[in-house]
Each structure stands twice: as structure tokens, then as C-alpha cells.
């Protein structure tokens, strides 16, 4: 069982708090709860979105909720700014703070449960005002319990009491009133919902394989040609370890690979026996 809830509201109405309270209530009931707000340029009055997930198994999904079962709309006017029906699963529930009748909503799903409640009215009646604005989050949580959600109203009330302290009493009253007031109705939509088809994208990671001579035979870079005098050489391997090009091979003795030697002459300077001399390179075969 995974219930995902999306809250729409405006900054100041308490959508983020409601989302948190719901997750807390769920974890008190023994479920796993998760809550996160959508971070944008939120300020008072701007549309905000927040998400809650409730599950009986650990929740590993950490993304936003794109296909909610339940949408809670704290502000009736937000309908004009945001598409609240977007991505809602068939047969899902929309809990909306409105004075309109449930039938008046138009959506693309086949059918949805619409829970309508005049939460603003409940908030004003119970004096839930902050800076003159009705805060509808707790009444909306009460209405939310009408949806198919396995939470007891007492648990929610307990959490709200703890969270709001002195204000808890009024909030709890608002929850109860909104729960009683809310009506749920199955509403048919247009059913024109078009599922965007997932494009199959073939991804191939470019993986390079190791090879000698990625720049070709780098002998052509050479102006000077180092030559090892094997009579002086005592196989100390200094030229081998210091060669920037890995162009000195270790066979029986050190040997310069003239296909790749770029002629930087580092080997001539590191040889303690001065056994490597250099001369002008003259290519005959190129």
C-alpha cells in the first residue's frame, strides 16, 4: 500500500505544515510517512506544493509525487493558476476547499472522488486567522480523513494539539467540524485523459578501449633521436621509469621504441652513465 498525497495551496495557508502533520500522524499509526515541500520562490500568497507519502513498507522513493492518489487543494482559487488534476490516478480523491458543488469540476479522468468542504468558513468560524488570513490546513486535514486513508481522527487531533499548543483546542474543533461538514461524491469526468506515451530512448555510453598510438605513430614528432650505447649501459632503468612516453621497453635490455619515441630527450638527461646520446633525426621512409 502506498498512498501519495499532493497539497496545493498558497504561501501562508499551511500546506507544508499540513503535509508534515499528515506524515507524522501516519508514522504514529505505525505506517512509514514521508513529507517534503516543493522548493521554489515561495512567499506568502504564491502557489506552493507539498507532498506526503504513506506506506506500510519503507519508502525509498524520494522524488516529488507525480501521480498522487489524493490531492488536497487548500485554496479554491488556485484552480485557475495550477492544474490540480494533473497526474491524479483514476479513482483518486480530490479534497477541495470550496463552496461549489462537487459536480461542477471538470477533469480528464474517467471518475474521481471529490470531497468538498468550506474550510475557509470553518477556519473563520473557529478564529483560525494569521495576519488576517484564514489558515485552512487543519480543517482540510479533517476533510481529508473522508478519503480512503487509514488514519484515525483521534491520532490527528493528538498531533495537532501537540503541535499548536494553546491554539490546539481551536484547531481540533476545526478538524472535527470540517470532518462532519465534508461531503464525498463520485464524479464522472470527460475520460479524455491522454497518457503521454513514453518514448524509448536508446542510450549508448561511449566507452573507449585502451590502445597504443591513439595519436598515431608519434615518431613523426621527433626532431632528435636518442641512441643507447649498450657498452656504457648498466641497466639501471632510470631512462625507463622517467620516459614520459612509455616508449622505452623492457626486454633483455632497455630498448627504445622508435615508432612512438617523440624525441623529448628526457632519457639523455637522467642517464647516470651518459650512455644515451642524441642526434638529428632524418626520416628516410616517410
Amino acid at each position: 500500500m502506498l498512498i501519495s498525497v499532493r497539497f496545493h495551496g498558497r504561501g501562508g495557508q499551511g500546506a507544508v505544515t499540513a503535509s508534515k502533520l499528515l506524515a507524522e500522524a501516519a508514522s504514529l499509526e505505525g505506517y512509514y510517512g514521508q513529507s517534503m515541500p516543493f522548493f521554489g520562490a515561495e512567499r506568502r500568497g504564491a502557489p506552493v506544493v507539498s507532498f506526503t507519502r504513506i506506506s506500510d513498507e519503507p519508502i525509498y522513493e524520494m522524488s516529488q509525487v507525480y501521480h498522487p492518489n489524493i490531492v488536497v487543494v487548500l485554496d479554491p482559487l488556485i484552480l485557475k493558476a495550477v492544474d490540480i488534476f494533473r497526474g491524479v490516478k483514476e479513482g483518486g480523491t480530490i479534497v477541495v476547499n470550496t463552496t461549489k458543488a462537487p459536480d461542477e469540476f471538470v477533469f480528464d479522468q474517467d471518475y474521481l472522488n471529490i470531497v468538498s468542504v468550506d474550510a475557509t468558513g470553518v477556519a473563520i468560524k473557529n478564529d483560525l486567522l494569521v495576519a488576517g488570513l484564514p489558515v485552512v490546513n487543519t480543517p482540510m486535514l479533517g476533510a481529508l480523513l473522508r478519503a480512503d486513508i487509514p488514519l484515525k481522527i483521534e491520532v490527528l487531533e493528538g498531533i495537532v494539539r501537540k503541535k499548536f499548543g494553546k491554539e490546539g483546542k481551536r484547531n481540533v474543533k476545526a478538524i472535527k467540524e470540517a470532518y462532519e461538514l465534508a461531503s464525498i461524491k463520485l464524479v464522472h469526468g470527460s475520460g479524455k485523459r491522454s497518457y503521454p506515451r513514453k518514448k524509448k530512448i536508446k542510450v549508448e555510453f561511449p566507452i573507449s578501449t585502451p590502445a597504443e598510438g591513439v595519436a598515431g605513430k608519434t615518431k613523426l614528432w621527433r626532431d632528435f633521436r636518442p641512441e643507447i650505447d649498450y657498452e656504457k649501459c648498466n641497466d639501471c632503468l632510470n631512462c625507463w621509469i622517467h620516459c614520459p612516453e612509455s616508449a622505452i621497453r623492457l626486454n633483455e635490455h632497455v630498448e627504445i621504441d622508435y615508432d612512438y619515441c617523440k624525441g623529448c630527450l628526457v632519457c639523455t638527461t637522467v642517464c647516470p652513465k651518459k650512455a644515451i646520446a642524441s642526434e638529428r633525426e632524418v626520416f628516410v621512409d616517410v
Binding site: 561511449p206 573507449s208 578501449t209 585502451p210 590502445a211 597504443e212 598510438g213 591513439v214 595519436a215 598515431g216 605513430k217 608519434t218 614528432w221 641497466d235 639501471c236 632503468l237 632510470n238 625507463w240 621509469i241 622517467h242 620516459c243 614520459p244 612516453e245 612509455s246 616508449a247 623492457l250 621504441d257 615508432d259 612512438y260 617523440k262 624525441g263 623529448c264 630527450l265 628526457v266 639523455t268 638527461t269 637522467v270
Partner: protein, 307 residues
Amino acid sequence: MKLSEMEREEYVLPGNTSCHGCPSTVALRTVLKALEGNAVLVIPACCTSVYMGPFPNSAIKVPVFNTAFASAAATASGIKASFEHQGKDTEVVVWAGDGGTYDIGLQALSGAAERGEDILFICYNNEIYSNTGIQRSGATPYGAWTTTTWKGKREHKKDVSELMLAHGVPYVSTASIGYLKDLYEKVKRAREIRGFRYIEILAPCPPGWRFPMDKTIKMGKLAVESGMWILFESIEGEFRFTGVSKSIAEGRRKMKDLEEYLLSQGRFSHLTAREIAEIKKYVIKKWEKLARLVEGEVDAVTAKFYV
């Protein structure tokens, strides 16, 4: 250790597109030999991501992950986490230039060091952005010419190896291209330690520093001998000088004249006596600062606070 005991397998293949006398290839060869090829390289934008060659081939014989400039240490943290999950003991090595360490990569480096990610971060420091055509970096020393400081840089370099000491990571060391055995052994020791490890290699760049291509190794030696580059190692907070720097610190060896190092490079050829004196002052200050970290001296300092 003898050179003949070193790993013989080549992990940087010949025919790559590095410049003549490139210090980075020498250092990378040595590092991968020390790790015996059991490594994954994470390479942000730098010379190495260019000289390893274009798709579909690579001049490096271990897996390489090319990543964005700013995120090398973060990428390596992720790869290491995946290896831990799979139970693989492969070393994840960040191979970054000084741009990817000192400037653009610093926040990811600092973050990974603070989280104690089990990765080996190696900075090959040529003190410039050489890949893009010799611009100044945070590692460019005072007075050095670059295409963006054409009258000589006016600021001293910052020192990320000291910054790593301050992070308190289990392993920090510096190495120079002039002493590859020392580098080899340091990588071996770093491999034994778990947690965040940082090695910084001085990589004198012939085109960027304006010196003949065959002098790469000599310049690496000269930098240490003149005291301009200090070799040290700090294992679990125990700081010590190593190699030639140790002999210098213990007074067994005289520092070579700084001018010999500076004036053999075209980038310092315009320096005045006053500027050389300024660099000298900086070098001496640095030595004094690091010498205080050696055990014994530090104890004497902390003792004053805990009477």
C-alpha cells in the same frame, strides 16, 4: 626499493598526444604502476583528459571516468560507494590538475575530505592552466609569467596541501616528478590507508614554464633542491619531511640557490632582484611554518596552553 622491483606493466600507453617531455604522463605512469592497475581514474577537465586520446581509443589502460571540472571528488565518492556496495577493493583515484584542485574543484575536494570518503585524490600541479594555453591559477607562484599575468603574477600561491593538513585527513603528502621512487612509495603507503588521501605532485611543464623539453625531470629535482617545493608526508597527523627536504630540514644539506631554479625558466626570466628577494622571503616563511609541524616542536607549543 630498486627500480627493477617496480611494476613492469605499462598503464599509460605510448603514442598518446601529450607534449614532448610531459610531466603528467611520467607521474601517472608511476602512480598506476604503484597501484598495479587496480584503479579507476576520475579525471576532470585537464591535460590528461586530452592526451588520453579521442574516442574510440584511450591511452590509459585502466577505466577512466571523465567528469566536469567542479565535481571530480564528488564523482569519485559516488564510484567508491558503488564499489563498496559491490564489495570491490578497487582504488578510486582522482587525477586532477591544479585547476581542478585549487580553483574550480576545491569545494568538491573539501567536501569529500570532510566526509572522509575513501578515495585517493592526486593533484598534478603544474602551477598553470596549461591545457587551455597557460593562464594563471591559484597555484601559480609570485612573479611567474602566464598569458594572463604577462608582467608576472602579483600574488603568492595558495597551498592546498596545507589546506588538506588542516582538514585532518589521514594521509597528505607532496611529491615531485624529480623523485619518482619517492612518489611510488608514497602511493604505495597511501594505498594501505583507508579514508581520504591527498597527494600533490609538482609537475614542471616545459611549454608552460618555458624551459627545454628534456629538462622536465631536472626541473622537478631542482625545485626540491632549491627549497621552492617541499616534500613532506603526514600520516594520521604525524608530519615529517621526506627525501631531500628532510636532509635540508635537518641541516645535512644546503639548499641550492633559488635563482638557479627561477632563472632557468622563461616564466621567471623577467624577475628583478627585489622580486626574487620577495620569493625567497616567502619560501623561508613556508619552511618555518612547516618545520613547526614536525613532532616535538608542536608538543612544545601545545604545552603552553595546557598547563
